[in-house]
Symmetry: D2
Subunit: 483 residues, 4 copies
């Protein structure tokens, strides 16, 4: 008997960021904002606050609602300026050193920074910095940025920041706090999201609009790709030192990462997902009795599919949200088939039915296969699997934790091979065109794609320097276990 | 700004129970079974196993998947017989003393017992036992049963068990382990559920069928109200020493407690809930644009309502499942309105819409009111609230953790007063007749109701002895803090 | 290379007890008293306080100074009546269930009790109680006493207490707290110590006078063997329901257990130990260059030996007090000899010297042998080992944790065999007569020994009922691991 | 009632260091060595090991015997090269970032370093480094050294090390580990100790010889002041790049810090302390009945005093070694006088006696005063206080944690004022000449003192650059709380 965990095959992204400037309870507001962004990272969280004299920093493993509680939060993290960070889950215990925000005492004063994304030239930059005598305390990209800022020979902090950003490539949304300003920045491609809000006059930066909603802030606008937002006591200033490439957020924010109640580019994520299902029903229809979502991420697309097809939507798979760390498996049980600690089949819905299973995507395919088998064992007569995103054929290098190309099911198999492997009666994917329609109501421009769609098309919007960096593992030299 | 938690207004029940006799990995099977029953209690869990010589007992706070993990589980809890228990969440840190299974070294050997339910005469029995010199180590009903067994002057363990059950009243599903048998028992009214299963020849007892499904066991039958199941090496024996009253499980198992994929009396809980919504749409229709469930428990009824009414179903409220312990609230924010750490409005679905909100029930009404306000602020034009169960007017005394009669909204207000208080455009409840139809396709027999419906009707199926027991608080005499 | 721990071969006793009646900060006074008695038990500690309405109980593993700290101690344990307990170190993590004080809700009200000592008929009593339906939650003797009190058919609590004490045999010093009195009791032989003190009008009970000293209380008198002290609002009452045997405290209190600054029977423990060394020098003189104590317990006797012999006293062995839990041993080191994590040789004192090593006693002899070897390797020319107590030949059954008779070195070997085994040039023990002289300036009365000297003489002052109790291990039936 | 802690007035030093090169169980040997050096620091400990490919580092709060245990130690810290560090106790929870060894990934490979001592120009160096873009992660001097090494433009690691040491001033004993060598270094003055040993062919570096004794290593020699020891597979090399000033270890190593069984400059620390007491008895005799040490550090000098004076030595003060973190004080007790959680008077020794109290030193004098008062209350007729070191009048800047000059009793008071303040019948200190006699049998050379005696004489052996560095607190800019 094998126990599996469907989420094992989900994509994971680093991370959620948040910042507030000019609110008397900045740390509380930041804790609430991070809670709203908890879906972007559950491994660890941190808040840095500045009280006009001192920086205060707390970093913890676990959920925001566990780490940043208690009536003394404002005593622990005083001040009206703060930034915060959620970290996505990884294997093993995270070292505190690798939790953000990270801090440095620069010659121009204290500086804290938090980062969502991944640099495509961080390893080469890191090696150059070490060769010049820089000492690294973590294995995070973010520390590279901090060293670049620290070593810049510019005088003003914003100039140094621009200087540092000019040297990095990849996807990032950054929030930073110096002794007199809050800074937000988004990579020139706009791969990772960042929005600007206003809470009773205090400026807010957040990865998604759902964080603004929770704290009751007004949405002002999205930070533009390549833009640097500088918030001081004198107001909000916008710097655009870099040439902007005309692309928009990574499509995976729409497909999977963003919370359904968030808005991206003025569009409801929930509605976009529903439209994906709607288009999926048109592109790859199925003759069936019931539409069943793989919960929770497949639900909006399944609703769209049901609407478009007229086939009833039912919860044929029940999700158990009370899941602990790990699980022990019996070894001496006759049962041949696999069970899940997170999903259970709802036989009353599935038995003797022709079922359309709708999920947001297929990554490795291993858990999709197990879900299919589970549904089959529950008595489904036919299973028609539908993915609400196109086949994922290429890895991401901008902050999405993804298996290698060889592990991606759609990269190594044809549609028919996949159908066979998944043991389904039919298999269908949303087309890239369908995705562009659902997201933007536009036709893809092959010269300058309107969205970062590299995982589906292999068309990467930036150089991939570290990919050609052949020296292996120097930066993984240290095995650290701290108490 | 007030932060609230919708689940605060949900009913809570003690607990989930599980037992296995004759499986080489009894503790592992029990851990899996308890995981499947995790929705019945997340505060604490325990397993007692017997290896032919010694009883081994582990009790922990937290989730099964955190407490009972690791490759050494079978070393810690060896043996082929085991029972287990999930405890429902309460305020404060639970004392280990109050976690089950509990154990006693009787003159006829070791005996472990775990219990779902509540006795209606435990306080009077407890006082009688203390007067006779019994020493109690916990405040649990279950310990009363253990003392009654221990003090019985019968010789055989089954006779003692019958002797003890003959003295208690109320709702219970019990599993117990002696040195040569596994015992299961259900109260004569059948208020709390218990089913019998078979896993490759090993007998299984569990609160719900979903636990059988997870471990791959076959469902044999429900334990009958008043029946005692005795499993020994010679097989399964059924004792029916008590006169059985012709009632069936508490309706709240259908309405809220049971997992949707469980079967009760041969009926799918999910399907019953969908039918509640279907009937609700007929009984109290609404002219609206969208049907929105209060997640997660309102989803099946909302689907039924949508089907019956033809109005589309959408996720207008998004649930955040990553919720930590507690939360700090800002005190200096202008925002007048309340926010939730668990629910967020999906504006794209709600704005300018006439919304039907479907929840499984209304208890105190305070969180229903806040959800309504949240939906209203998100732009809903009209709000029609529908409860998929009848008005809850009377408290339960059989194991459901419920507010007092004065706190129940439907007990102190008329329908119009409730509508006013909830600030909705219309309010509707499923009728008791509708509930009987959805659950059993029968008309309620007022002389001998087919289900325990006391919370809706005030018609209690047993005596309520402790209710008249006026001595207050003797058993709460001790304040304990153990390391 | 073997790493050993000298203290492994020391005797261990349960435990230290303390009680206070009528002090506004009873829990604080009790914490201080337990701290002064910390040498009697370092494994765990507990305090029960009564505030006039409720009993409050806290039990923790570890030291008093770690467990009972913080400004909120009086909030956690309010009231002016309290008792406390220190538990001696054992292997493994102690179950909280086995930490004292223990509590019961009797028909006459709450009752807490703490106990130093060991009963010689607890297993037979326990079996009788279980046969009558009593349920035990711990494996402690103390719970037997509690059940006897609970089941007594007497009306008043003091009568019940006398009733219970009348059934038990062995060594005990008890403190107990009911809703209107503090009770202290000492076994009829007076094996375990208990003293009465007065702190500004509040009555104090404590195992040793050093606890009175720390809190600034006046010593009133020792509780007499067989006496029961009852402290109420009306004052201190003395009950002597049992026939008193004319013996005095266990000699091991003088030899090892009591703190040197305590007084027993009006005698300074330090001075008695110094006299043991003085007499030892006379009884078994040695021609040597230096007197070296085995620290810390051998110091007073070594000083006496040095004074009487005129040979200089030097610290030839240095003790490391910063010792953690356990230690890892290298396996691939050439060094043949053993090292200690607690003791180091002071070569400058030992090299080329004829050394007299003085320790308080020899139990198994294994660590004595290792100390000898360590001193020899440090360059000592001759080693003359002297034990400040007579050969230990017989086990104790009254609360001293001692190896079995076969493990006692002096029980299985002659003096010359021991000298050979220890690899010393000469070996000498204090005589029983010498011990009587040092402790009481009396000659031992063989018919009615003035002290409990059974470990040296085999003359036990009570019956040893459990010793003949052949049923094995029923009370060890349960293996418990609580979170 | 005031509870005080004698050790509060003791000097504290950073720290103990240890290194081993070429032993198959390097981490185990290091753990044992650190255990032997535990008296030099109990707050935290760390070990870095190199297995030929990777560095492994563990840093923990608490004692070595708690942190580095378990059978898996060699799996956690594999390799035959290791260094370790003990940190002295400070207030508050230490940040893991401030525990050593610290590590950097240099361009020439990994490098770990641990440090005992204090630099007198670290703050100015740190500011210079920050101005050049260095990012500091801790507030430790040691990180300054690491940055200097990292930024050196020399090619070989030993050259970089010399380069870095050439820039720092103050007291230090360093051990460092690169990918092919173990390095040890001692400051040119030789303020902090470091010895070289040999364990079956593996080279050992340690703060004191007692660490060699515990692991069974041979003492080779002391590392010379200003010497750098480089251990590679080719053997031990000695570098002496710096001009050596002809001074010897800080006298406080003899007076207080070193363990009595250690040897410094070929002299037994215990014997030196005994000689201090001997000379003290000659310089400032007292007519008395008993010599009483303040335990534990005053014992050797008290023995010397007793020998020289012929007055008997007795343990008039008993030390409680089982002390937890903190303690609560009663506020409503009549008792006017103070109590100690660590020391108790032994009345039998003190009552009606003329007592000579011998301690190793007097720092602030507050606890000396309380001890005197405690001894007086125990009945002493006369108290003659003797300090086995000269008056401490000047602060240390080389790694001893000492109060400011204004807090030093001997700095602000005359002998008679001190006698009055301490409320003793007479007060005497060892003379500087007496100390030189006891330690080295030499007369002090005022032009080039043979020992670092600045605390007694104000004659500092190095420049004190940071002392004139007026910028305050920039490096304390960040308040950190990591999980």
């Amino acid at each position: 008997m094998l126990i599996w965990d469907h989420d094992d095959d989900k994509l994971r992204e680093e991370c959620g960021v948040f910042g507030v400037f000019g609110h008397p309870e900045a740390a509380v507001i930041t804790a609430l904002g991070l809670h709203a962004l908890q879906h972007r990272g559950q491994e660890a969280c941190g808040i840095a606050a500045f009280d006009g004299k001192l920086f205060h920093n707390e970093r913890h493993t676990g959920l925001v609602g566990d780490a940043f509680t208690g009536k003394d939060l404002l005593k622990r993290l005083p001040g009206s300026w703060a930034i915060g960070h959620n970290r996505y889950p990884t294997q093993g215990t995270p070292a505190i050193r690798n939790i953000q925000p990270i801090f440095a005492d620069l010659d121009c004063g204290g500086f804290a920074v938090a980062h969502n994304g991944n640099l495509t030239n961080s390893r080469s930059l890191r090696r150059q910095l070490v060769d010049k005598g820089a000492i690294f305390q973590s294995t995070m990209d973010t520390e590279v940025i901090l060293h670049l800022i620290s070593r810049s020979d510019k005088a003003r902090i914003t100039e140094r920041f621009v200087d540092a950003l000019g040297q990095i490539e990849g996807g990032y949304a950054l929030v930073a706090l110096s002794e007199n300003m809050l800074i937000g920045a988004r990579d020139p491609v706009g791969l990772r999201p960042l929005v600007l809000g206003d809470l009773d006059g205090a400026s807010i930066l957040a990865s998604e609009t759902c964080a603004l909603d929770l704290i009751g802030a007004k949405f002002v606008r999205e930070v533009e790709p390549g833009e640097i937002i500088v918030v001081t006591k004198d107001g909000v200033e916008s710097l655009t030192p870099f040439q902007r490439r005309s692309t928009a957020p990574c499509l995976f924010e729409f497909v999977y990462f963003a919370r359904p109640d968030s808005m991206i580019q003025g569009k409801s994520v929930y509605e976009v997902r529903r439209r994906m299902g709607e288009r999926l029903a048109q592109d790859t229809p199925a003759d069936a009795d019931v539409i069943v979502p793989v919960p929770d991420s497949g639900v909006p697309a399944a609703l769209g599919f049901a609407e478009a097809s007229g086939i009833p939507f039912q919860l044929g798979i029940i999700r158990n949200h009370y899941v602990g760390r790990t699980f022990i498996e019996p070894t001496q049980t006759d049962r041949q088939n696999s069970i899940s600690k997170k999903h259970a089949p709802n036989r009353a819905v599935l038995k003797d039915k022709r079922v359309v299973l709708v999920d947001d995507s297929i990554v490795r395919g291993n858990t999709s296969k197990r879900i299919v088998r589970m549904v089959r064992e529950a008595g489904a007569k036919e299973i028609h699997f539908r993915s609400a995103s196109p086949p994922i054929r290429f890895p991401d290098y901008y902050g999405i934790d993804m298996p290698s190309e060889q592990e991606l099911m759609a990269s190594r198999m044809s549609l028919e091979e996949m159908r066979n492997e998944l043991e389904v009666d039919s298999l269908g994917f949303l087309s890239v065109d369908g995705l562009y329609w659902a997201v933007g109501d536009v036709k893809r421009d092959p010269n300058t794609p309107q969205y970062a769609d590299h995982c589906f098309t292999g068309d990467y919007p930036t150089r991939l320097i570290d990919r050609r960096y052949d020296e292996v593992g120097r930066d993984a030299q240290l095995s650290f276990l701290d108490d």
